[in-house]
């Protein structure tokens, strides 16, 4: 058994690349956000096809151009966004997993659909843990995100794995407009008219969206008061005094003062994470 760690060298990356797992959940009491993968559904698939543990660390990528060179054999998986993948310069488009030999280069091309790509690796990336999680987060983990020139450690494999063919990754689940939500704790502050506007309208994803939150372009003018600050979670939809709807995501602070009007279902958090600016959603009350 080869116990020395392999390294994947980041030859190039655009901003927005980070190591993520399911995040940290026992430190919210001192104000530390959970962080973790934006789209848990795709992440689970990326680990499942490699038979990894369910909390294994992956690379979360949001832009084309990422280039990695691996120094020992391993196996990769891809899920989330639909992306063009090159292995040593040749287009790769078969299967869920990709066997890597020493010195192989993997490069990402165009993003066809979706916002976040998950690159799983056999046994997970072996980066440092902070508060029981490997998720990058500013001022908590040593690395805030991953940059060109960085190395990502992993445990190499010795034998080619035998895999049963698993169904190919399908992206249709995030392509429709419907976002399933529950009434948030402050839902009852909305009058009937505002509730109808929220449920009948369509809302466009704005360019103001990142790992902290997704702002929607279409406004919901209101006269709701600002409230005492109370807990919020990924998937909480806040309504600001200016009428802006903000869907809080994984890096959002653990409390907030705007009315919390909806709470997305777990699957819909993954779905809205994969929406790109300009795409449209509608809310369906559960």
């Amino acid at each position: 058994m080869n116990l020395s760690l392999g390294k994947a060298r980041i030859v190039f990356t655009a901003p927005g690349t980070s190591i993520q797992d399911l995040g940290r959940h026992h430190v919210a009491s001192i104000g530390i956000p959970s962080a973790g993968v934006m789209d848990q559904k795709s992440y689970a698939w990326a680990n499942h096809v490699l038979q990894n543990e369910e909390n294994a660390a992956v690379l979360e990528i949001s832009q084309p151009g990422l280039t990695l060179v691996f120094d020992y054999p391993t196996e990769l998986s891809f899920a989330g966004a639909k992306v063009q993948i090159f292995l040593n310069g040749e287009a790769y488009n078969s299967g869920n997993t990709l066997l890597i030999q020493a010195e192989d280069e993997v490069k990402l091309g165009k993003f066809y659909s979706g916002r976040w790509l998950y690159m799983g690796i056999k046994s997970g990336f072996a980066t440092e843990k902070f508060y029981e999680s490997r998720s990058d987060f500013p001022f908590i983990s040593r690395k805030f995100y991953r940059e060109t020139g960085d190395y990502l450690p992993y445990l190499p494999i010795n034998d080619s794995p035998q895999r049963n063919a698993s169904p190919k990754w399908n992206t249709s689940w995030y392509e429709d407009e419907v976002i399933v939500a529950y009434r948030g704790p402050d839902w009852s502050l909305l009058n009937g008219e505002l509730q109808q506007q929220l449920l009948k309208g369509t809302f466009r994803i704005s360019t103001q969206s990142n790992r902290m939150g997704i702002q929607l372009e279409d406004l919901l003018p209101n006269t709701l008061p600002e409230l005492p600050t109370n807990p919020v979670f990924p998937g909480t939809v806040q309504l600001s005094s200016g009428g802006k709807l903000i869907v809080l995501m994984r890096d959002a602070g653990v409390t907030g003062g705007y009315p919390r009007i909806l709470q997305l279902s777990e699957d819909s958090i993954s779905k809205i994470a994969q929406k790109r600016p300009g795409e449209v959603v509608r809310f369906h009350l559960e």
């Binding site: 959940h25 026992h26 919210a28 009491s29 001192i30 104000g31 530390i32 956000p33 902070f130 001022f139 908590i140 529950y182 009434r183 948030g184 704790p185 600002e226 005492p228 600050t229 109370n230 807990p231 979670f233 602070g253 653990v254 409390t255 907030g256 003062g257 709470q263 279902s265 559960e286």
Partner: protein, 229 residues
């Protein structure tokens, strides 16, 4: 002062009190936090405290149903609040409190009066949020309440002491922010290298202690001192 419980999703719910934030309410909330952390720990994924709510994330919807049936009839005695008062040094120099002059003018008071109003109360720490190590305080004098700035600053320096709405607080690190900056503290509010990254706890108290610029610049203690009230 029994709370009600609302189920938000199959796995998420909230204990809520229809009361404004106060020491009495906090003492009840902390009693509930202790109770939940001992009696329901195995069934809870996480717990979060706010000014008037406690949010409960359940591992399963069955646990939440069980809680919803049992707990609303529960009578809880308040937990006595901590007697610790942290003395936090703050330099209210105009160089560090960029909005000090303007805010005093808006409030029709002198800068000295504003500083006196800010340093006289003993504030209560309710919970942490917004940024790692940022504590939410109750007790700001109503004369100092001020709506947040219409356009937030892109960068507020670490340690900034600020007022926003009915709140006052200290930015534990550099961050964007919409509050009025009135000073800066040299202490470290959050240090991930320490085994416990924050020195204060929910229920502790805070008193701001004015220091001059020379003292601010030569300050060398990361953790403030405290006394018992």
């Amino acid at each position: 002062m029994k709370p009600s419980y609302i189920q938000i999703t199959p796995n998420l719910g909230e204990l809520l009190w229809k009361l404004p934030p106060s020491d009495e309410l906090l003492a009840l909330q902390l009693a509930y936090m202790d109770f939940l952390q001992t009696d329901w720990a195995d069934e809870l994924h996480s717990l979060r405290l706010g000014f008037t709510r406690i949010s409960l994330q359940w591992k399963s919807s069955i646990s939440q149903e069980k809680f919803n049936r049992l707990v609303p009839n529960h009578q809880m005695s308040p937990k006595p609040l901590s007697k610790k008062v942290w003395e936090i040094p703050v330099c209210y120099a105009l160089e560090l409190g960029e909005d000090l002059n303007e805010l005093a003018k808006e409030k029709h008071m002198s800068v000295e009066e504003l500083i006196t109003l800010h340093t006289s109360p003993t504030y209560r720490i309710h919970f942490f949020g917004f940024l790692p190590g940022f504590f939410y305080l109750n007790g700001l004098h109503p004369l100092l309440h001020a709506p947040r700035k219409p356009i937030p600053r892109l960068s507020v320096p670490s340690g900034s002491v600020a007022i926003g709405g009915s709140q006052t607080g200290i930015y534990p690190r550099e961050s964007p922010g919409g509050w009025h900056l009135i000073g800066q503290s040299p202490v470290v509010l959050f240090d991930p290298q320490r085994s416990s990254p924050v020195w204060a706890k929910s229920g502790d108290q805070v008193k701001f202690m004015p220091i001059d610029l020379a003292k601010f610049q030569s300050w060398s203690y990361d953790i403030p001192t405290f006394y018992l009230s």
